[in-house]
Symmetry: C2
Subunit: 295 residues, 2 copies
């Protein structure tokens, strides 16, 4: 299906895409591009990519599919660098966690090629980074959101949709702005809470002891605080507006909870916890895959 795939950013996301397409025999050559040489060498050794370059412009030469999986802060320069070397029929797509900023970058950097760019976001990942963390099954039964623009060519959208389906993912279409609001609530806010909690505890006097007595719930809860700081810095900056809104909403919720605890309002506490449990249990039942699975 893909003759030459260029992966710009060979980490967990890009590496897993290459692995999944290889596993179903739907990709010819895979060219990797990245900043860290040892990671690229490891990617070749693992068989994730066939060869690599550190220049995005060189990486896309002859590629019929280009997947951009760099931190959000590097998207614009990456697209601009590759633009003049793309095949006329090349499709470009990405895996960025915020779509508004990526679309703005694409508009600024791609010019007349914009119709062949399909903004995308696979809702999958782990707290690990680098090609070493990539695996074939990452996208199996996961959702991939594509946020095509008015300008996007139907055939480009179709090819990217098929690519993700070959990886076992379920593809949904969404409006750019709506994507960023939904993800602010379900992904960006939880990451802020996990980073914030670990940081708050780390700054306490007796933090060594505190972490010593943390149990399994805490480990699950804070696992996402092990995610890449650079990636999350960029996500925060790129989705500033939507994130600020859900953080504000959450802070009101916590204020209400704190006041409820202060005034020892047993009934209201039970109501909040019971509502949350019932929603979480329902969500957990309907969620794809094993609830306990690492993704």
């Amino acid at each position: 299906m893909i003759e030459r795939l260029a992966i710009i950013g060979v980490g967990l996301i890009g590496g897993s895409l290459a692995r999944a397409l290889r596993a179903v025999g739907e990709v010819g050559e895979v060219v990797g591009c990245g900043r860290t040489l040892p990671n690229l060498e490891r990617a070749v050794a693992l068989g994730v990519i066939d060869r690599y370059t550190q220049d995005p412009a060189a990486a896309v030469i002859g590629a019929d599919m280009v997947f951009v999986a760099v931190p959000l802060g590097a998207v614009r320069e990456t697209l601009a660098a590759m633009r003049d070397c793309l095949l006329p029929e090349a499709i470009i797509t990405d895996g960025g966690s915020v779509k508004g900023s990526v679309v703005a970058d694409a508009r600024a950097a791609l010019g007349e090629i914009l119709p062949r760019f399909v903004p995308g976001h696979p809702i999958a990942g782990t707290e690990k980074s680098g090609v070493e963390a990539s695996f074939t099954e990452l996208y199996r039964n996961r959702r991939v959101i594509l946020t095509p623009l008015a300008e996007t060519e139907a055939s480009a959208l179709d090819r990217v949709t098929r690519m993700w389906r070959l990886c076992g993912a379920e593809v949904s279409l969404m409006d750019v702005r709506h994507h960023d609001e939904v993800l602010a609530a379900t992904s960006h806010l939880p990451h802020m809470l996990a980073f914030g909690l670990v940081d708050a505890l780390a700054r306490m006097k007796e933090n060594e002891e505190i972490f010593r007595y943390a149990a399994g719930g805490f480990r699950d809860f804070t696992r996402i605080a092990s995610s890449s700081p650079v990636m999350w810095r960029d996500i925060c900056l790129a989705n500033r507006e939507a994130l600020a809104e859900v953080m504000q909403r959450f802070s009101l919720e916590m204020q209400d909870l704190a006041e409820t605890i202060q005034r020892a309002d047993a009934e209201h506490l039970l109501e909040i916890f019971a509502r949350a449990k019932s929603v979480r249990d329902r969500y957990s039942d309907s969620a794809k895959g094993d609830d306990g699975a690492r993704e």
Copy 2:
């Protein structure tokens, strides 16, 4: 080691203690006591207990070890109800998540028996409840904190310590107040954040869609919001003061984070995330057992 063990509250915590002691052949008869008949019948069917009664006073007759694992709001009445039926040599201990309230309850309810009461807290659990969720290995390589009082008999402390070691746990001693502060930070606060997050999202207009696009990180993060609402209502009320303090501290942290995002302070964001990641990674390395294990 124990001839007759009375488990008051045959759920995840009480049931797992009985299972663990049976597995090493260190308990004779196990008598269960609880409010829900089907749960008690299930406990007999599973072989967790030998027989049951719904009356705490009857349950402790002839028992040389009594383990109280009821919601914190029911501790005082439970201790008061059993008090006059205890053997003179019986040791009483508990598994409550807050120790200040339990100690106050024990002082009020046990009178001259107080020296044979050993306040305790196994740092283990899952989001599940009921005897069905109990398992033999729950306490293996987990920490159990005991918070003995000035009055506590050394021999009582010694027997309870040995009991937990037989279950594979590592026993630590801690001051009551200090226990409640540490647990407020590492367990009670994270539960408030998870309950609060799920509740906040559930109250949003498009909550169905929001949960549909939540990925694995979110599942891990909110798993503890499936915990028992009654248990957590009681924990909040019992540890009100220490919990209020860490909630306040966390809210300042989040305010700082929100302001940092608002002013797009990339450097400070990276600093916060990198510090949190490094602490979380260090903690994860040093934590007992598999980081991915359900507890």
